[in-house]
Each structure stands twice: as C-alpha cells, then as structure tokens.
C-alpha cells in the first residue's frame, strides 16, 4: 500500500516537471537581445550569502552548513570568487541550506512575513504562490524572474502543495529551488553599450549588485532594485542619489569590514597554529580578539572618525579586550568586553602593523620571521609581491642557534649575503626586521637568546629604526595609498589587483588624493561611477565552448 502511495507521488512529479519543460522560454529571447556581455560571474562569499539571506528573509534565520573554501588571487579572496565554481560537496551543502532556509521562512513562526496569505492554507494557490515567488525571486536573483523561471516554480509549488494539502509545503520547495539556483549563488554582472555606444557599462541591475555588495557586503535592497528597474541607476543623478544613500547608511561598516578583512588577509588566522609549549597563553580566543582589534581600529579610524587612511600605519589608538591585554601586557581594569585604548608612546607600537594580528599571522608557530612579515606586509600594503626563493636555497645557517649568530637577524643576514638570495631578501626583510621587537604572538621584547635585538635597517635610501620608523615610512609612502585604492577597485570588481592599472579609476583616485586620503572620498568616487561600472567591449567570439565537460 505504502509503495503505491509513493509511486503515485513520483508520477505526479513527473507530470509537474514535464509542464515546466513545456513552458515557453521567454528568457531565451531576452538573452538574444542586442550585444550584452557577461563581465563577471562571482560566487557569493560566505558572508555575502549570510548577509543576503538575512536581508531578504529578515532576521532570525539560522544558516548552518559548509561553505567552500576560497583562495587568494592578487592578494584578494574577492578575486577568486570570479574563478572558483561550485563542487559537488559544495552544492550538497547549498541544497541543504536552501531547504533549511525555506523551511524556516515558510514555518509557522515566520510565515506572517510572506507578502501574501493564501485563500486556503490547505490547498495550492497559484496566484498567491506567484506573488511570493516573484517577490523573493527578484531579491534573490537581483533581477526579476523570467516568465519561465517563475512558471516552473509555481508548478512545483502547486504540485507539492496539492499533494500534501498544504500551501506552505509547496512554498517551501518553490523557494528552496530559488535559493540554490546559480542565479543566487553567483553574482552575474552584465554590461551593455553605454550612451556613447563605444564603450560598455554595467546594466542597471548589475550596477545595483556591484554597488550594494561593495558598500554593504549584501544584496541590493528593494529601493536599489527599484532604481534599477526604472533605469534611474543608469543616469548620473540617479546613481549619485543611491550611492549617497548607501554611503550614508551605518551598513557601510559591514561593507568595509569585509573589504579590510580581505585586504589585510585576516582570514589567515583560520589556519594559524602556535606552539602551545612556547606560547601557552595563545589560543583561539586571542586569535579572534586580534582579528577584531584590527577591524575595530580600521573602521573607527576610516569611517567613524573619517580619518586619513595613512594614519593606520602610525596610530597608537586601538581597542583591546582582556585577551589582548595579556599579550600587550597592559592592565585591563574593566568589566566590559572591548575598550578603546591608547598605547604609551614608549610602547613602540605603530598602527595596525604592530598589532597582534599582523605580527602573529605572519610568523612561525614558535618563532618570529622577518621574512614572512616582510613578504606579507609589502604584498598587503604596497602591492609588491615577493617572488618565491630559488628551489635549491641553503637556509641552514638561519637555524643554527647554537653557533655565534644569536638572533634571527644575524642569521638571516648571513644567508642573505648570497647574491641570489639577496635580491629578494633586500626587498622583504628590511620591513620585517624593524618588527623584530615583537615575538611570534606579538608580545614586546628587546632581546632574543640573550642578545639585544637590533631594529635598524635601510629601505632604499632611508634608515629605519624600529616599528615606529617603519610606520612613518609606510605612512609617507605613496605606494601604500595607491595600493589600498587598487585593491579596493579590484575588490569591487572581482579582478586581480595585479591587473588593475591606475588609469582605470583615475577620477576616483583623484578624489581620494584630493580629500587627504579619506576612505569615504575614494568610495564615493567609485560608487558614483562611471569607472567602477565600465567594461571593455566584448572580444570577438572565440568559437570554442571552453574546457571539456567536467562530468
């Protein structure tokens, strides 16, 4: 008997899916419209996914599941989202998450939020279902659903609602099919010829998407989508108005938090382990606190106080909690969680480069590494990656702590006298050597193995003595601000920083410089366009259909 019931369901599904197949594809006609080009297809990051779901369905939705790991391209994870796809394990997780979200959205607790109530809860209601699916479809796909897309979902919801005599059961599956669709999981940005007809620029919905994820790290809200729908986003005034609205919102902080987390590579902490014998106090709590300290410092300086981004290299202002106070060895006579703190001028600390985060992430488990720190900081802050060392380098001398060379510095110098090694070490090490006054977890020190640490070095023609000198050097180095701006532009567009040329966003950069390096000026310059939205005209068709099928 049971078998029969289940079989019946199977047949009904078959019929439903068949109906969807037969639905006329209005989307095809749309896709064949005049020369548009897909300029990027970016997989949502974990945070983008979470924020988008929260914004679309309201607070209180629990999202549990695995998100696929990302990689760094040109110093940014954001750029890898335009390269990576969805693996079987990844999709398995996406499909489960989609269903779990849809269950919650249609559950008794939250269903009052749906934009329509069915005539009868125990039956299918296509009109109401269509209303709900179109509403969320627009928000999820960041564009209106095509007729075919909507129809196939209404049919699915109808079949399952009728079968289970429950409107909301049908809704659950209709919504789940949207939440796991590639149109939600990937941000597809499409360019069309601009007013002049010569160059290409993002069409309005793609503008809304790029703008919203840059500034809020989330999906475009209803107002932004409506500005896309009316075409206002393609006008200078309309774009300015929406950019201004997003810039003025406190949600800008979430957007910039995501950017700096990416640019400063703070996710590195996810895979850093420290030696528990040498540094017993180190733990996940300190790592998380260190990451938060840096983000708080950066957001406070650049947004709350609207400061000069160069001061990130020199400021003594920070935020600490009890965990960090232990590493910094400062008193923490507070009951609260985080407090604003100003380092003593004699503490030797200078901006984010001497915070626990940057010092600990780029060290070995039990030992500091001037090379690791130097390589990371020059790449992160100056956009100057260091090439890999030759394959057959002899580093042995660096480890010979029993010999006459007591400090890392002395041993490194001996190794770097080799001219092959010197070419790169001269690039990376000076930066790192000035930070040797801090151990592998960022604690202050003056000696190593009983010997006083020498913090003096030369970068090009400048003598630098210690972290504060380094901070001032970076503060005054135009490469820092140029690098930050390049990374912002690359981040916003999902491109490799190394391929971003200053002339691609001259106007926005000029605003940044003229403002005295205020982050808001750079963001406004980008958000108001047109550079952020521009695209090269399509390349002539290359015939090939890409790689062979992956299946």
């Amino acid at each position: 008997m049971r078998k029969l019931t289940v079989l019946g369901l199977g047949v009904a599904l078959l019929a439903a899916a068949g109906a969807a197949l037969a639905a006329p594809g209005t989307d095809a006609a749309k896709a064949d419209g005049v020369s548009s080009e897909v300029v990027s297809l970016r997989r949502l990051t974990q945070d983008e996914y979470r924020n988008s779901i929260a914004d679309i369905f309201g607070p209180g939705i629990e999202i549990r599941g695995m998100f696929e790991p990302t990689i760094r391209v040109g110093g940014l994870q954001a750029a890898s989202t335009a390269v990576l796809s969805v693996t079987p394990a990844g999709f398995e997780s996406y499909t489960k998450m989609a269903d779990s979200i849809a269950v919650q959205v249609t559950g008794e607790k939250l269903r009052d939020r749906l934009p329509c109530t069915p005539a009868r809860a125990k039956a299918a209601d296509d009109k109401c279902a269509g209303k709900i699916l179109a509403h969320y479809g627009l928000l999820l796909f960041r564009r209106p659903l095509t007729d075919a897309e909507l129809k196939s979902r209404i049919t699915l919801a109808h079949t399952l609602a009728a079968r289970q005599k429950n409107f909301y059961a049908g809704m659950r599956y209709g919504l789940a099919s949207l939440i796991q669709a590639p149109d939600f999981l990937f941000r597809k940005e499409v360019a069309v010829p601009d007013a002049g007809g010569k160059d290409y620029t993002l069409e309005p919905y793609s503008r809304a998407t790029r703008l919203s994820y840059l500034l809020w790290n989330s999906t475009p809200d209803a107002e932004l989508l409506s500005a896309a729908q009316t075409g206002a986003l393609s006008t200078e005034a309309g774009l300015k108005k929406q950019a201004g609205r997003l810039m003025a919102s406190p949600r800008l902080e979430a957007g910039m938090r995501a950017f700096f987390n990416d640019m400063l590579e703070l996710d590195t902490f996810d895979t850093v382990s420290k030696d528990s014998l040498l540094y017993p106090k180190w733990g996940v709590a300190i790592a998380n606190s260190a990451k938060e300290e840096t983000l708080k410092t950066v957001l406070d300086l650049t947004l709350t106080r609207d400061g000069d981004v160069r001061d990130l290299m020199t400021t003594r202002d920070t935020y600490i909690n009890r965990n960090l106070a232990a590493v910094y060895r400062v008193p923490f006579p507070f009951n609260g969680d985080w407090v604003r703190y100003e380092f003593d001028p004699k503490a030797g600390r200078s901006g984010i480069i001497t915070q626990v985060s940057m010092l600990a992430m780029f060290s070995h488990p039990g030992r500091s590494s001037p090379t690791k720190r130097g390589v990371a900081l020059t790449d992160i802050l100056l956009c100057e990656p260091t090439p890999n060392p030759p394959n057959n380098v002899d580093f042995s001398i660096i480890n010979d702590t029993g010999g006459p060379l007591k400090t890392v510095r002395q041993r490194l110098m001996a190794h770097a006298t080799n001219p092959v090694c010197a070419s790169c070490h001269n690039h990376s090490d000076p930066v790192g050597l000035t930070l040797e006054g801090f151990d592998t977890i960022g604690g202050f020190r003056t000696t190593e193995n009983g010997e006083v640490i020498d913090l003096k070095t030369r970068i090009r023609d400048t003598t630098i003595n210690g972290a504060e000198d380094l901070g001032r050097y970076l503060h005054d180095n135009p490469k820092f601000t140029a690098c930050l701006a390049r990374k912002m532009f690359a981040y916003a567009r999902g491109e490799n920083t190394m391929r971003v040329r200053p002339n691609m966003f001259q106007a926005a950069y000029a605003r940044f410089v003229d403002s005295g390096f205020h982050l808001r000026a750079l963001l406004t310059g980008l958000a108001e366009g047109p550079e952020l939205y521009s695209a090269p005209p399509p390349k002539p068709a290359s015939g090939g259909g890409g790689k062979v099928s992956m299946h």
Binding site: S152, N388, N391
Partner: protein
C-alpha cells in the same frame, strides 16, 4: 530525436522505485568471482588517495634491494605490520618539462595527475581519484569524499581540475555528519522504505537543473566551464538522492558508532595523532558501507606545517633551515618528522585493514595511492619522489614489493593503479610523463 538528459533523469525518479529490490551491486559483477561477500555478491574495488607533505629522507627510506625480500628501512619501519599489503616505489622521476618547478606543488600535482602542473596551486586535469570515481562510483551515495586531518577544508588534493579542489571535511564530526547524518540508510534497520522527502528534493533539483541552458547562455568560455561544473554538481546531488532511494544492501559487518566529539584539529602533531585514526575509521566505515567508493585523505598541505609543540621551527621550516648533519649525511630532525608521517599513514591503513570483508579485509578489496610533494624538501627536489600503494585491489594487485622505478616517470604508478582498478585506459599522464607502461609485474 536527441534524448534529453533531463528527460532520462525524470524517468529515473520513477525508475528508482521500479528497481527496488534489485541487488545494488549488480554493476560490479566480477568476472573472476573473487572476494565474494557472505551473500555471494562481489565487493566493489574501492580507491583512496592519501596525501602527506614534504616527502621522506632518501638515505633512510629507500630499501637497498628491490623485490619482495627487501630489508626494511628506518623510515618504512612504521609500515612493517602491513608490509605484505604495501608496494613501495623508489627511483621515480617528475619531469616538469617547460613548466617551472613550483615549490611544493609540481610534485604533488604531477603525482596526482601524471602531468606537470602549468600553474601553481592548480591541477591541469582531474586528479587520479576523480578519474577513478568517474568509472567506479555510480551507485554509491557519494561519488567521492575528502577529509583533512589538520582541520582545514582547503587541504584537499582531490580536484576536478583547475583551482577548485573538492573541499575536505575538516573535523571528525563534520565527516561523520556528512556520512552518517541525515540521508544515511542504516542497514541495521529492518523496516526500510524509500523516504518520500528524497523524491521531493529530486523534483526541486529537477527544476534547478532545467535552467541550465539559460544559465549557460552568454557566458565566456571560462565562465561556461564554471557554470558547467555547477550543473555537474547538481547532477551528482541527483545521483546521490537516487542512491538514497535504494534499499540498503550492505554486507559489511560493522556498526556505525555514535557521533564523535568536537576536537581540536590543526597542525600540531599530538592533535594529528588523535584525529587521524578517527578520520581513518570513518573513512573505512564509509567505504565498507558503500557510502562512497573513493576517498581522499590528507594530513597536511604540501610544505607541511606540522609541528611538535616546543619545536619553534616546525616541519617545513626545518626542511629548509636544519643543517645536514655532516656525519649522518641527512637532516636528523626532518628525518623524525618523516617517520611521524609514516606512522600517521600506517594509522590510516590499519583502520582500513581492521574491517573484515568477505575473504579478507577492506584494505584487501581496495587500493590506496599515497603521494607527497617533494623527494628532498630542502631543495624542493622532485627526482626520487616516493609513492606508496597499499591494498590488494580485490586480487588485482600483487603486494609486498619494493619497486625500483629506475628513472620511470611517476605516472607509471598511477597507470598501474588504474589498471588494477580495472579501468580501460592504455596510457596516462601528460607531456614527457605520458606513459603506456604500467608495472605489469604487479598486476595479477
């Protein structure tokens, strides 16, 4: 009329019901009739890759003589209990051809694909486990599963090609939940019936998959390939559900334990020693119960960051910075780490060998391909890169040998492994490592 793939799939929703009761291992009827399980049905030959970083120390691992009677070496000693089920390959060569020797990548990529990688951190083709999975996985619940003992989902050297790797389950709990959480058909439950919920989910996937044509439109070649991978993944989820609709017909005499507790999973050796056997046990159960026939396990990344607490350098840094002891002729601390790696590998094999199956153990009915990133880590040398094969592949692989590859490309081992997996291929690998010569002496 061209048959629509979607149409066929829809049929299978109904078809799944129609075939209920058919033996689920039918497609694995072994002409040799070996390794029959208690019920008389053949066991599928399963496949695993195992990755560990930083190679071994040549003076300490390569046996002096080839063949079956080789004298056990210091670094192979941990594997001694299972020696009769393992083949050791020395003297293998990795030719990078026109590509650079990407540090800690070229060796790993070449071992996994048989060709020298043209880009760092990318595979030029599917890794060997995925090539095998294409052939043997149909019918299992998961086409393949990957796990990282060091707690890092990105430490996976299983890939469909390109920069994407198949994410590794980073903890015993996450691996357990994937395998034995919702969707697992417990063989010990007598009142099995197909879960209607699975069929509903199939219909949802069907709607998603129907948008394929439109989603692929307008995309450039690179994005088309990515979108194609998305839909391939959808297809795999459909197949997974199809498998979940089959009556469980599991021969394994195993009990599924309770979920493991949350554990600290990182690069510290003491943690790896705790986590690896648990991950290994779960992998073994997954293959014994046909949740998957292909498993990828990693204990570290290339350039292994494993460290012993108190050792301020750790493994990778030691390989570059520890001086070669003038008397010993090698790096003593590095040599210790090498041995720890072999111990971890042995822990994996032991769990596979602990599951009785038919006339032997799970290990006898599978093949494990263990590879690494370098031959001599200090200078990132690739020649002599070690590869180990374990397991009898259902009688297809002779074991217990040390093979001196004598300058053979590393791809010969991969070809041999795939031949033992009964795959019909004549050559494997690419560039100057493309080979048509398996080690035939090992193939039964």
């Amino acid at each position: 009329m061209k048959l629509d793939r979607r149409f066929l799939l829809r049929g299978s929703c109904q078809g799944a019901l129609a075939v209920l009761g058919l033996p689920f291992l039918d497609c694995f009827l072994d002409s040799k009739g070996k390794a029959l399980a208690a019920t008389g049905r053949p066991l599928p030959t399963r496949f695993s890759t195992y990755f560990y970083g930083l190679g071994l120390t040549k003076q300490l691992w390569v046996p002096k003589t080839a063949g079956k009677d080789y004298e056990v070496t210091e670094q192979l000693a941990p594997l001694q209990p299972l020696r009769a089920k393992i083949n050791i390959f020395s003297g293998l060569r990795v030719a990078v051809d026109a590509n650079p020797n990407y540090q800690h990548w070229s060796g790993a990529g070449a071992s996994a694909t048989g060709m020298s990688p043209t880009k760092i951190n990318e595979f030029d083709t599917k890794t060997i486990d995925q090539q095998v999975a294409d052939v043997i996985s149909r019918g299992a619940r998961f086409k393949s599963v990957a796990a990282s003992c060091a707690g890092d989902a990105s430490q996976s050297y299983s890939s469909l090609g390109g920069a994407n790797t198949l994410p590794a389950e980073p903890t015993p709990l996450s691996l357990y939940t994937r395998l034995f959480g919702p969707g697992f058909q417990d063989p010990s439950k007598g009142d099995w019936k197909p879960d209607p919920q699975v069929m509903i989910q199939q219909s949802v996937l069907s709607v998603v998959a129907d948008d394929r044509k439109r989603a692929m439109a307008e995309l450039g070649p690179a994005d088309r390939a990515r979108m194609d991978q998305y839909f391939t993944s959808v297809r795999e989820a459909e197949l997974q559900m199809q498998a979940e609709l089959q009556r469980p017909d599991i021969e394994a005499k195993v009990t599924i334990p309770a979920a493991p507790e949350e554990m600290v999973c990182n690069n510290a050796l003491p943690n790896l020693r705790k986590v690896t056997p648990i991950m290994a046990k779960l992998a073994a159960l997954a293959m014994a119960t046909d949740q998957t026939r292909v498993f990828h396990m990693s204990v570290s990344q290339p350039g292994s960051q494993i460290f012993i607490p108190g050792d301020s350098l750790g493994y990778h840094q030691s390989t570059h910075e520890e001086p070669i002891d003038p008397k010993l002729g090698y790096q003593p601390r590095v040599a210790k780490y090498n041995v720890y790696n072999m111990e971890l590998f042995c822990a994996y094999l032991k769990e596979l060998d602990a599951i009785p199956e038919g006339d032997g153990t799970l290990l006898d009915h599978m093949l494990v391909y263990a590879f690494t990133d370098v031959a001599f880590a200090k200078i990132h040398a690739l020649d002599g890169i070690p590869v180990l094969l374990a397991g009898g592949a259902n009688g297809r692989m002779k074991t217990g040998y040390h093979i001196n590859g004598d300058g053979s490309p590393v791809s010969r081992v991969g070809l041999t492994a795939q031949k033992a997996m009964d795959m019909s291929l004549e050559s494997w690998g690419g560039g100057s490592m493309e080979t048509r010569s398996p080690f035939t002496e090992l193939l039964a």
